[in-house]
């Protein structure tokens, strides 16, 4: 078997037994990269020399593909934006240090929507990523490169990041497992900020077991990120040994099913998933999250607001693109930013600036923060009646390139993933089947209360076993 096909668990077993070395896995991945990357475009950058150097220093480490917004010392970190062309990271993000401490090494950088803003990776300024299951379709986004690399067997596993669904929707489109950890579970130090009250890094893998191992390596309190609490990280992989659907109370919320725009095949696959869970001993419980219909609007106020502040750091002074046309400080800012940012990033900066500007802040931003409280309360109430929620992950399977031209239509892709992001709880995407005619993968989403990743992974594993 080709080593690039392995997941984390199988790779670790082989490395332990001495069947192969980390460097041999890296070589195999590089061969695969040269063969299929010109077509799939999952990677933006693959420095074989650096990867081999790390692999030789840790001969039992498993290589992990890294989304292009996470800093790895000495490597580019472009966030798929022209504004960071030529930038080299001066330090490792905490998640990268954590990987290294747990016998993983970073290996290659994968494509994304510019600054993680998008749902198809079409907003990358640096290249096209295609869905490995159908090259005429998008891989989803913003972690589209991560998903295409996992789904296309171009990596052992990958790191993605999720602000409103950027791990889960591409995982669903490319047949991967993806975990959006609870807010604060994983350090954001060294991860380029999009929306700071929402961003989380998480694993994208070939199995739930792999996701458990990788999340265990990433999670934990970090002195460099004040939002990471001192909540112990359980041995997630060990918890999976007892995974079972028996007696699990699964909440079914009508707000996630009675939705215009929900593709009939996605609905069929999600309904079948519920049925399989019930047959395996789970109890289906009806729940309601009445403020779900406002989540999209709340998100498209809060996320751009935070993004407009975070992206103010791109001023052409300390790093990033500087316009050669700049003659004074004002034009240094306006021209450097105009030349460096792509259209979606500009749109979001403008919306964010608008909702925070004098005269509008109370009506938009502050109102959105209050409705966010109500959305969070909906989850608190629902979880009094059930252990988890099962919902569709994305309203459709992977769509074609240029199919969604209008920004608002594109935003609606995150309909089912945004509410849990706003609430700060944890959620997974788990492969659930394929559409009948187009044979495209479709995942379902499980949602658990905050800091219940152990439960989330166990239920996801039990589902994977019966699916």
């Amino acid at each position: 078997m080709e080593l690039y096909k392995l997941g984390i668990k199988a790779a670790r077993e082989g490395l332990e037994k001495g069947d192969f070395t980390s460097a041999e896995i890296v070589e195999s991945l590089y061969k695969r990269y040269n063969e299929v990357n010109p077509e799939i475009g999952a990677y933006l950058y693959f420095d074989i020399d650096h990867a081999l150097e790390l692999a030789k220093a840790s001969p039992k480490a498993v290589p992990i593909a890294i989304k292009d917004l996470i800093n790895v010392k000495g490597q580019p970190c472009t966030c798929a934006s022209k504004i960071l062309k030529g930038y080299l990271s001066p330090y490792d993000a905490t998640v990268i240090s954590n990987l290294k401490k747990n016998s993983f090494i970073p290996c290659g950088r994968v494509n994304m929507d510019e600054f993680a803003m998008g749902s198809s990776t079409e907003n990358s300024a640096l290249g096209v990523t295609r869905n490995p299951y159908d090259l005429t379709r998008v891989p989803g986004g913003s972690s589209g490169g991560s998903a295409a690399a996992v789904g296309g067997d171009m990596c052992i596993a990958a790191l993605g990041s999720d602000t409103g669904g950027s791990i889960r929707q591409p995982a669903s489109f490319c047949n991967c497992v993806g975990i959006k950890p609870s807010y604060g579970r994983v350090s954001r130090y060294g991860v380029t900020a999009f929306a700071s009250s929402l961003d989380q890094v998480g694993p994208m893998t070939k199995s739930v077991e792999d996701a458990a191992v990788l999340l265990g390596a990433l999670a934990g309190c970090d002195q460099m990120d004040g939002t990471t609490p001192e909540v112990p990280v359980p041995d997630y992989a060990k918890l999976l040994e007892r995974a079972s659907m028996k007696g699990v109370k699964i909440g079914v919320a009508k707000e996630y099913f009675d939705v215009t725009g929900l593709d009939p095949e996605v609905k069929r696959i999600t309904d079948e998933a519920l049925k399989k869970c019930e047959e395996a001993g789970a109890e289906l419980v009806e729940v309601s999250l009445p403020h779900t219909e406002y989540a999209m609007a709340v998100y498209y106020i809060i996320a751009p607001a935070e993004a407009s502040a975070n992206l103010a750091r791109f001023d052409g002074v300390r790093y990033g693109h500087r316009s050669s046309e700049a003659v004074d400080v004002y034009s240094l800012y306006t021209k450097s930013r105009a030349e460096g940012f792509g259209p979606e990033v500009k749109r979001r900066i403008i919306i964010g600036t608008f909702v925070l500007s004098s005269g509008y802040q109370d009506a938009y931003y502050t109102q959105a923060l209050k409705v966010r409280t109500l959305i969070k309360r909906d989850f608190d109430e629902a979880f009094k009646k059930c252990d988890c929620l099962l919902t569709p992950c994305a309203p459709t399977p992977a769509f074609k390139f240029k199919e969604l031209q209008d920004p608002l239509t594109m935003y609606l892709n995150d309909l089912f993933t945004i509410p849990s992001s706003l609430a700060g709880v944890c959620a997974s995407a788990v492969p659930a089947g394929f559409t009948n005619n187009t044979k495209l993968p479709v995942g379902v989403q499980f949602i658990c209360p905050g800091y219940e990743e152990g439960r989330l992974l166990s239920i996801s594993k039990a589902f994977e076993d019966i699916c």
């Binding site: 080299l88 807010y183 106020i301 500009k346 403008i350 005269g359 938009y364 502050t366």
Partner: protein, 101 residues
């Protein structure tokens, strides 16, 4: 709420955001952002009296640490990505009117 004053003026907002737009971008963005702003206005129909704002992804309080010097990036590394520099400083266009740059 007065509907008219709730609209977005893309040209003005882009100036606040220090973003130069082409004529084409101004027109396209104005149409697109009108649609988005109209969509997000639906939150105004929610009754939020007595509801506190959720400021962050989870309830957190300030975490303090001892104010001690720790290892950090050296000057050369910190300046390594500067678009323009002179010695140990960032080089910028003239900021103060009348001063020599």
């Amino acid at each position: 709420m007065d509907e008219i004053t709730m609209d977005i003026d893309v040209e003005y907002t882009a100036k606040l955001a220090r973003l130069e737009l082409t004529e084409q971008e101004r027109t396209t963005f104005q149409a697109q952002l009108d649609g988005i702003v109209k969509y997000v206005q639906k939150i105004s129909e929610v009754d939020v009296s007595d509801v506190p704002p959720m400021m962050h992804g989870r309830e957190i309080v300030n975490r303090f640490r001892e104010d001690v010097v720790r290892p950090s990036l050296d000057v050369q590394t910190a300046l390594s990505n500067a678009p323009k520099r002179v010695g140990d400083e960032f080089l910028l266009p003239k900021i103060v009117e009348g001063a020599e740059s």
